[in-house]
Amino acid sequence: MKILYFAWLRERLNKSDETVSPPDEVKTIDQLMDWMSARDEGFELAFANRKLIRTALDEKIVGHDTPLDGAQTVAFFPPMTGG
């Protein structure tokens, strides 16, 4: 599973993407964030305030409670500020 980071999340984690293989019991985006926080303190700190984190599964913006359901790509990013 490919993970993408954008904007200050990318800067704070010092990487724009990584590949992870979470265990089968990680079924939702929330659970993925829990699992990644447990294994990586940097991730835990950057993701401490989850209200600031937006997520997309396979190029579709979704809520944190969405099932991963075999998604290839999970993207994490702050609220958008384009235009």
């Binding site: 579709k60 500020t81 384009g82 235009g83």
Partner: protein
């Protein structure tokens, strides 16, 4: 419906793009066209040196496709073009341009406003300003969420 979406790093010429839009999409039934152009804004008292836009290309394209499709079902539009830049740009330069064409003015106005309101909050672009005090990410604004939510 003629919908065109361009994501590009290069600067563009606002008036030239408006004329191209009219030339390539306008038919005799068209009565109104609206062009919105967003510019890199600087505060004269605390100037920025440059603005950098980061984006998520595949998702940006998907979101702008959705937004323009929704606009074209809500308003009687004949054509929409969106140009959005990414990368580094200087104060005064255009960042984004939205153009709509319609038989009637209200649809042209509302279509362009609808697209901009959703683009601001739902398209994956992030602004970082470089100023006298270094670099900082621009915060999302609650008023942008409210502007979007009035369409719901």
């Amino acid at each position: 419906m003629d919908i065109r979406i361009r994501l590009q790093q290069e600067i563009f010429d606002p008036g030239e793009e408006s004329n191209r839009f009219l030339k390539e999409t306008a038919t005799v039934g068209a009565g109104a066209t609206v062009t919105f152009t967003g510019l890199v804004r600087s505060d004269p008292d605390n100037p920025i040196h440059s603005l950098t836009l980061e984006h998520y290309p595949a998702l940006a394209r998907a979101q702008l496709d959705d937004i323009t499709r929704e606009a074209s079902t809500r308003f009687p539009l004949m054509a929409i073009t969106i140009i959005h830049r990414f990368g580094e740009m200087l104060p005064g330069e255009p960042i984004v341009q939205v153009m709509t064409l319609s038989p009637h003015r209200q649809a042209a106005f509302e279509g362009a406003q609808f697209i901009m309101d959703f683009l601001k909050t739902d398209a994956p672009f992030w602004k970082k300003e470089k100023g006298n005090d270094g670099e900082s990410w621009v915060d999302a604004k609650a008023c942008d969420d409210r502007a979007r939510d009035r369409w719901r």
